[in-house]
């Protein structure tokens, strides 16, 4: 698989699903293109104007805590983000991101600054920081989740295999 390339958008610790996509926009959840215009709005209102296809969200610990709304990883993906890097993820968000085919990578993120150019090889498990000439490795996904991610998400996975496998 070709490496993912883009710029880092840096966020802090404990980015909740309310900051990712606020509950007040629940009326837009059946109109995903409109909903996605509000991605990350309460964390960084400029994000949606600046993000370009391929870019990365780079955050601290416990990214995605809170609600089970799968719209959270969905709007991030629709905004063009190709992967989320964080020191740790909240459980439901982590699973939802993989189920939507959006890589959620656990790695040290302190050395990555806002705007750094990154290249990520999912096959090699490596993040290259082009701006700083550094590399970082990320924690491998458990095989069950890797297989789901490789099929592009849970529903495509089930449609292909007809059942869950571990």
């Amino acid at each position: 698989m070709a490496p993912l390339k883009g710029r880092a958008f840096k966020f802090g610790d404990d980015i909740s699903t309310d900051l990712i996509i606020a509950g007040k926009y629940a009326h837009l959840r059946s109109n995903l293109p409109e909903l996605a215009k509000h991605a990350m709005e309460d964390a960084n209102p400029e994000f949606i104007k600046l993000v370009r296809p391929g870019d990365f969200i780079v955050a601290g610990s416990n990214f995605g805590l809170g609600s089970s709304r799968e719209h959270a990883p969905l709007v991030i993906k629709m905004a063009g983000v190709s992967a989320i890097l964080a020191r740790s993820f909240a459980r439901i968000f982590f699973r939802n991101a993989i189920n939507q085919g959006l890589p959620a990578l656990i790695c040290p993120t302190d050395k990555i600054a806002d705007g750094d150019n990154l290249e990520i090889s999912l096959d090699e498990g490596l993040i290259r920081n082009i701006t700083r000439n550094e590399s970082y490795s990320f924690t491998k996904l458990p095989p069950t989740m890797l297989n789901i991610l490789n099929e592009g998400g849970l529903i495509p996975y089930i449609n292909r295999h007809g059942d869950l496998r571990i």
Binding site: D14, S16, D18, L19, A22, G23, K24, A26, H27, L28, R29, S30, N31, D42, S61, N62, L65, G66, S67, S68, R69, E70, H71, L74, S88, A90, R91, I92, R95, N96, N99, Q100, P142, T144, G153, L154, I155, I158, N159, G162, D163, L164, I166
Partner: protein
């Protein structure tokens, strides 16, 4: 080697010797979604090749988050949900029935069940000894279709609570104290299992409050043993025959144990903007509040209505404070009317909302204005949670909320009890 409650339930439901760290495929006994996650769940279900429910009688859809609907878009989502329920024959709890987690506790959850819901507070049913956890729409859609899901069997953190709670201190203070101690990610991917003399005596309505907030420490489940208290509760709901005892083994392996002395706990408050940002109510005395919200899947039960009514009876809510009270289910609402609680709350100046999630997630019925402060009995105080990133949310028990509604400032309830 003995097993925790999680290991026991997942062993039974996966037909294997499940141990912490294992990945298992487990049968699912109850699967549900609500009106803000349901439409995506239904669309994911319909994009699957197999479009029949594994168990229509154990699949439920709830219209509770926007109940009744505040706008045409959500009204159309509700139509979509009702049509799906009619097509598939699954259970539908329409607007006015109450919050999904309360109805699951009253009518659907059984000890030993594996329950998955498209709502993070699905953990609430852990109070009845069910392995209940929140998942996203794709996972729930697959569970609806296949009747199973995959889990990593969680390590368990044991929480031993001994002694007796002082007057004005209870389950909400315990769980806020716990989250403040271990942090908002202190139990991520783990199970919490509650035990000890204070837990043995704890009634189900309080156990539900504790399990409900397990997810605020990141936990996958918040489990109580199924015991005589559970049996009494199920009997009171007309489901006595659904009782089965569940307990962890004496030699079960815990990742760690946390001990809490109930008698040393004080009324606790979470400050903006995170649940683990806790302190005592006493140390915040004098913080002015614009709105007090009593309700939700955390504290909208009959006994919460009773606590609020006993503090407010024959008194008046402080001028300039909006007191919003929302019973968590139709059953609770009816019982609270019969008990005189609702009249006492209204006469004190409270506003009663129809059973549902109300203002908790910022959709309607209590959105905050800029710089407004809300003291809420809900489970989350994230920035923007109640419809406005410029609002400030403090979380506390029903006693603390009702006392503060009288004084207009955050108040240790022991001052008015």
């Amino acid at each position: 080697m003995g097993k925790t409650i999680s290991e026991k339930i997942l062993s039974t439901k996966s037909g294997s010797d499940a141990r912490a760290g294992d990945i298992v495929i487990s049968a699912v006994d109850l699967v549900f979604a609500q009106d803000t996650t349901g439409p995506l769940t239904i669309r994911q279900f319909k994009s699957g090749n197999k479009q029949t429910l594994a168990s229509p009688g154990r699949t439920a859809l709830f219209i509770d988050h926007a109940s009744p609907s505040p706008n045409r878009q959500l009204s159309n989502d509700h139509i979509f949900i009702r049509e799906f329920a009619a097509e598939t024959g699954c259970l539908l709890f329409d607007a006015g029935s109450g919050v999904c987690h309360q109805i699951v506790a009253e009518q659907l959850a059984r000890p030993g069940d594996v329950i998955v819901g498209a709502d993070s507070h699905t953990v609430t049913a852990g109070a009845l000894g069910a392995f209940a956890t929140g998942m996203g729409s794709s996972d729930v859609a697959v569970a609806m279709s296949l009747g199973k899901t995959w889990f990593r069997v969680p390590e368990t953190i044991g929480i031993e609570v001994t002694g007796k709670f002082a007057r004005g201190v209870g389950a909400k203070d315990l769980v806020l104290h716990l989250i403040g101690t271990i942090g908002a990610d202190g139990a991520t991917y783990k199970a919490l299992e509650f035990m000890g003399s204070a837990i043995d005596d704890m009634p189900v309505w309080q156990r539900l409050t504790v399990s409900n907030m397990a997810v605020e420490a990141g936990a996958k489940v918040g489990l109580f043993h199924s015991d005589r208290v559970t049996a009494e509760y199920l009997k009171s709901q007309g489901r006595g025959k659904e009782y089965t005892p569940i307990a962890s083994d004496a030699d079960a392996v815990y990742e760690r144990m946390i001990k809490v002395a109930a008698d040393r706990l004080e009324p606790m408050v979470s400050m903006p903007h995170s649940v683990d940002n806790t302190t005592t109510a006493k140390s915040l005395s004098g913080v002015h509040v614009n709105q007090v919200f009593i309700g939700t899947c955390t504290n909208g039960r009959l006994e919460d209505m009773g606590e609020a009514a006993s503090i407010l009876k024959n008194k008046k809510v402080h001028a300039g404070v909006r007191l919003i009270v929302c019973p968590a289910s139709k059953k609770i609402y009816t019982q609270a009317i019969n008990a005189g609680y609702i009249q006492a709350i209204i006469e004190a100046g409270g506003i009663i909302l129809p059973p549902g999630c109300a203002g908790c997630l910022g959709l309607h019925q209590g959105a905050l204005g800029d710089k407004e402060i809300c003291l809420s009995t809900a489970n989350r105080n994230f920035k923007g949670r109640m419809g406005n990133p410029g609002g400030l949310i403090y979380l506390a028990s029903t006693d603390t909320a009702a006392a503060s509604a009288l004084t207009g400032v955050i108040t240790d309830p022991r001052e008015v009890l």
